[in-house]
Symmetry: C2
Subunit: 418 residues, 2 copies
């Protein structure tokens, strides 16, 4: 009998969500790798084996043995797009919006994102850590074991670095695992009103090099992201920033086609960005490009839901084109404050037309690829980090079908029960 | 110093949600009765006083004192329309529906509701209790302190009475408080296919008297409800059933205008029904009638959301007409399995155009009136049952704004911390 640290057995279903050689694309999206009456063996924080309960019980002697009692075992959720950390809330703005103001109108009058920017600029690193800790803990309880976090509410060098520092401290303090994105080009700050190109110069000449220095200093990897949108950064400005970032060693991400399809998705594919996110108004040619390239399309169904807008990411067209589709919360105080990838599955099933299996792949294996970590997390394949969820239910199809609640009974992160 | 059992003080906001003389109607919907830095005193399971922290601390000496630490205190949610208890699930049917089948199509082919009916008919009372207990516990954890439950998955006398019995046992076993509705006219059972009038006769001649006998035997109150809808029970059949029920001592409810506006709402008002529920396709004249009558309009936003249909209860028109509007989950395995009134607030804000304050009134004081208990529960007014929620947040406006999660930190039922 081989010794292992943890053996979870008698799971009604183990959803492996295979994707060791790449994300699930096109018609393959929703491949479960289902093992019935399954078991998972864990050693040194990693998946050692997945198989039938009988097989694994005969092979492994575990320090800790857990009976799943027929429940379903799935990979930990990966949330590949959030705007954590932030300060304050915009519940008052939400109330205003119910009276008819649009997001772009609120933004144009200096409300919206700028109110969050002011709050973040005034906060200390300790404030940022204290305020964002509960939302990351909530995410973990809802099953998210890895989460992308980003700057973009600082919009000056000191405040952007403060956000990076808060992210690093939160990652050290909590079991949930953070990846870091640098997004000084999230919006044009008030002090650069009407001078977008001058702000782009500042980003390229001062902020990106400072972020790269922070990356080296802490020996971590950073994504660079840009909000490519009408009235924010156009495609030429976005190209300048991302090209400079790539030269400095950043991996690339992009906010594209949320309100207007400008060509950002095409640019993301051309530059080899790891992901292109939002993709609501994505032109047909850009959808076809996703099918050819390696960029993961990240749908953010919480945003149209949050804004009560009718149009969502054209997931079926992206799948048909052979693209790789992930889903994220976009968790942020302005358009969609929701920590739950289970809720996003419910939205993706109803408004993006995904089956529960496709939605599950979108928030696990494909979400892992959307943050460049598909070979480490996102599935229950041997060698990967043992990030797993035991559900309250025997059937994975209850995810997406049921909503507004938490079906996660137990969270395992790096082999450790949280 | 007067002695009390419980004093909760230093609540950032106490939302009283006043309505002791009737539901909040028309422009009054959303009246908070807000007390800042408030406190609530409880004796013998009832609200004794609500006021400022300073005032109540100087007046009352409490057995148990609780510091709300700036958080928000609101009445327990009342869920005035669910289909608990049921057996089984329809996650597979949900998967089919994602492939394009409609609810009415599934129902017409004997799937849909009939699969749940078969499961309930096969179950014992003990099965029903065991399967429905976790969902009621989940509701309570999400802040629902009183819930309407109903029959309607039996569709024969024995199975309908079995559901009533399960409801009674669940009410005895759990702190959450159940009200009971008898709904043998939820659908026409397979064995009466094409003979709707014969089934209506059976309901009136056999089932309603048996339900009335059960009501007397257990000294409880029962609502009678009918699913008035094209292809199910028409207005004439509905009128026959409800008129017979009223004569037997039932209070009345009605499923109306979910898919087609047949005139069910007008009938509900005419018969003095306590509530008319769904109200998606409600004709203008019926909306005006709601403004004149005492029937509470119950919007069920989970149903269009669950089915990904675009049309919701025309809440603004109902409010404008001076109607009383409540909101419920419609929790059921077919169209919307969600236990959370918080989620319904989020839907009501986005898709029915309610402000957070209006949505809060709709799930507390007005929901209490929708089950005929507005004088006992649904607000924090002296004399009412001490059913209260302490939120995770200082501002009630985070309800509705945030979604897919649970913002309830502590539940108090009849003065007892759960």
């Amino acid at each position: 009998m081989e010794k292992v640290d943890l053996l979870i057995h008698s799971a009604g279903q183990v959803c492996v969500m295979p994707g060791v050689s790449g994300p699930q694309r096109g018609a393959a999206l929703g491949t479960l790798g289902l093992v019935e009456n399954g078991a998972v063996a864990v050693r040194d924080g990693r998946i050692l084996a997945v198989g039938s309960t009988i097989e694994l019980q005969s092979k492994y002697e575990a320090e800790e043995v857990m009976d799943a009692d027929g429940r379903c075992l799935i990979p930990g959720f990966v949330d590949p797009h959030t705007h954590i950390p932030w300060m304050g809330d915009r519940a008052g703005e939400f109330e205003q919006r119910l009276a008819g103001a649009t997001y772009m109108e609120i933004m144009a009058t200096g409300g919206g994102i700028m109110s969050t920017v002011r709050a973040v600029r005034q906060a200390s690193v300790a404030d940022l850590v204290a305020d964002n800790r509960p939302r990351l803990e909530r995410m973990l309880a809802l099953g998210t074991t890895s989460v992308e976090t980003k700057t973009g509410y600082g919009l000056n060098l000191a405040a952007e670095l403060k956000q990076l520092e808060a992210m690093r401290l939160l990652n050290e303090a909590l079991p949930i695992e953070l990846t870091y994105t640098f997004l000084p080009a999230h919006a044009v700050p008030e002090e650069y009103n009407g001078r977008t190109d001058a702000y782009v110069d500042l980003v390229i000449e001062e902020m990106l090099p400072a972020g790269a220095e922070w990356m080296r200093q802490h020996n971590v990897s950073l994504f660079c992201d840009v909000f490519c949108e009408e009235g924010v950064f156009d495609v030429a400005q976005t190209r300048r920033i991302l090209t400079a970032a790539a030269e400095l060693g950043y991996r690339l991400k992009l906010h594209a086609d949320e309100f207007v399809g400008l060509g950002g998705t095409m640019l993301a594919v051309e530059l080899g960005a790891v992901s292109a996110d939002h993709l609501v108004r994505t032109p047909e040619a850009d959808i076809q490009a996703l099918g050819q390239g390696d960029t993961v399309a990240v749908g953010l169904p919480g945003t149209p839901f949050g804004l009560a807008e009718p149009d969502y990411t054209p997931a079926k067209a992206i799948i048909k084109a052979g693209g790789a589709l992930a889903v994220a919360t976009d968790c942020n105080p302005g358009t969609s404050w929701c920590e739950s990838q289970q809720m996003m599955m419910a939205l993706a099933c109803r408004y993006m037309g995904l089956t529960q299996a496709q939605a599950l792949a979108a928030v696990t294996i494909n979400a892992a690829y959307a943050i460049g970590r598909g070979r480490e997390i996102g599935s229950l394949e041997p060698g990967k980090q043992a990030d797993m969820l035991l559900l309250d239910t025997a059937d994975y199809r209850q995810l997406g079908y049921r909503y507004g609640i938490n079906l996660v009974r137990m969270v395992v992160k790096n082999g450790r029960v949280i």
